[in-house]
Symmetry: C2
Subunit: 249 residues, 2 copies
C-alpha cells in the first residue's frame, strides 16, 4: 500500500452538489440557492448550487436526494451522478468563500464533492408540482456568470454532460408534448445546446430522421399559420440504431 493515513493527513469531507436544469419553453434554467452573509462590514448575497456534506451512514445517491429536498423542497427527481471533483483548494480560492465557511462552522478541511444533474420540465401547467423553498430559485442558465466556490465550473460540466446526452439519446422528446411542432423541437435543441439553427437546415435534417413522424393534425386556436404536429416514434428510432455499432441490436 502506497500511503498510510499517518503520512498525509488524509481527512476529507465529502459533499454532494446538485445541478437541476429546469426546462420551460424558450428557456433553460438552473436551480440555485441564495446565500447571504456578512463580509467586510456589509451584507453580501450571491448564488450557489444546492449542496451539502454527506453523512457517513448514507450512500451518495441518498445524500443527493436528501440535500436537494432539504435545501430546495424538490423531491422525486431523477438525479444522475456525473463527476467527482477533488481539486485541492476548490473551496478556498476567494476570501469571502473562506469567510462564509468559517461563519457556518464548516470544517476547514478539503472537500471532495460528488456532482449530480437532472433535467426536468417546469412549464406552466406543471409548476405546482415543484414548490420551491424560499431561498431556492430558478435562474436562466444563459444569465449565470458567477457562482460561489467552483460551482460555475460544476454547472458548466453538468451542461456539457446534458448536451452530449441530448445529442446521443432521445431525452429531448421527454420534455415535449406527445404531439409537437418542428418549431417547438428546434427551440428545445437551441435552448439546451445554446446555439441557433437555421430554420430551413433544421427542417432538412429532420427529414433524415424517420423517427420524427408527421401526423395528420395541425395546431388549432393559434394566431399564426397552424403548424403540423409531429410525434417521436421510439420503435422507428430503435430500428435506425441497426446501422450503429450496437451489434447486439
Amino acid at each position: 500500500m502506497g500511503i498510510s493515513s499517518r503520512d498525509t493527513g488524509l481527512n476529507y469531507h465529502v459533499s454532494v452538489d446538485c445541478v437541476v436544469f429546469g426546462f420551460e419553453f424558450g428557456k433553460l434554467n438552473a436551480l440555485l440557492i441564495e446565500r447571504e452573509m456578512q463580509f467586510e462590514g456589509s451584507t453580501y448575497t450571491d448564488l450557489k448550487l444546492p449542496g451539502d456534506l454527506v453523512r457517513t451512514d448514507e450512500d451518495l445517491d441518498t445524500a443527493a436526494a436528501r440535500v436537494l429536498k432539504e435545501l430546495t423542497g424538490l423531491e422525486n427527481i431523477y438525479l444522475k451522478q456525473y463527476a467527482a471533483i477533488g481539486t485541492p483548494n476548490r473551496l478556498t480560492r476567494l476570501e469571502r468563500d473562506m469567510e462564509w465557511l468559517r461563519q457556518i462552522g464548516h470544517p476547514e478541511k478539503v472537500v471532495v464533492t460528488v456532482a449530480y444533474y437532472s433535467l426536468i420540465n417546469i412549464d406552466q401547467d406543471k409548476i405546482n408540482k415543484f414548490q420551491l423553498q424560499k431561498n431556492a430559485r430558478w435562474q436562466a442558465v444563459s444569465q449565470i456568470s458567477e457562482l460561489a466556490f467552483d460551482h460555475l465550473e460544476i454547472l458548466n460540466e453538468a451542461l456539457q454532460t446534458l448536451r452530449t446526452e441530448l445529442r446521443s439519446n432521445p431525452i429531448g422528446f421527454e420534455l415535449l408534448p406527445n404531439k409537437f411542432t418542428l418549431s417547438q423541437l428546434q427551440k428545445l435543441y437551441e435552448v439546451i445546446l445554446g446555439v441557433s439553427f437555421d430554420k430551413r437546415n433544421f427542417r432538412k435534417k429532420v427529414t433524415n430522421m424517420p423517427y420524427i413522424v408527421p401526423i395528420n393534425e395541425k395546431e388549432r386556436g393559434v394566431s399564426h399559420k397552424p403548424a403540423r404536429y409531429y410525434i417521436f416514434s421510439k420503435k422507428i428510432y430503435e430500428k435506425t440504431r441497426k446501422n450503429s455499432l450496437d451489434f447486439s441490436m
Copy 2:
C-alpha cells in the same frame, strides 16, 4: 446549511480505484493486485483492484495516475472517471477485510472511492510497453469470481460502462490493426461484450455499416483460407451520424 460537521462526525477518507482492462486477441483481462495477509493463523491471499487513498494536495485524476503507477508500474494510460462509490460499510463487510485494514494501519473511517477505468491493448507485440510490478497481474475477466472488499462490484460497473461505450462509439477500432478481418472484429465484440454472435448475422450487420469498408487485400501466410481485410472509415462514420439526434452535425 443542513448539517454541520459537529452533528454527524463527517470525517471521510477518499480513495481512487482503477479498473484497467487489457485486451488481447480472444481475451479481455483486468489488472489486479495480489494481496497477502495473516488471518486466523494462516497466510491468506486474494486479489483486489489497484487503489489507494488520495492525498489532500492532489486532485483526483492525478491521484489515479499516481496510484496506478506506484502499485502496478503502468503509466501514460488514459484513465476515465466513471463513478464515485459511497456505500456505508463498503470496506467492512468481511472480517478478513477489516483485519487487513487494521494490519496496514488504514484508518477506520468511511472511505468514499472514486473509480476510473481504462482499455488498453496488451497484445504480444506491445507487451514490452507494459511492464508490471511483481504483485500486479492480468486476469481474464471471465475468470474473476471474487475480489476483496466491493471491488467485484466496482469492476462490474466498469465493465458495463465499457460495454455501453463500445456500443455507442468506435473505440473498438482503436484495439484492432488498421486492416482487420471480420473474424477479428467479431472476436473483439464478443470478448468485450461477453456474448457470442452468429457469424452470418454478424456479417449481415456489417453490410449495414458503410464505415466498415472492404479493401482489395487479403491475409497472407495463413494456414486457413485467407480472409479479406477491412478498414474503419472515420469519415464515413461521421456522415452516418447525420441521421442521429446530433442536430449540430
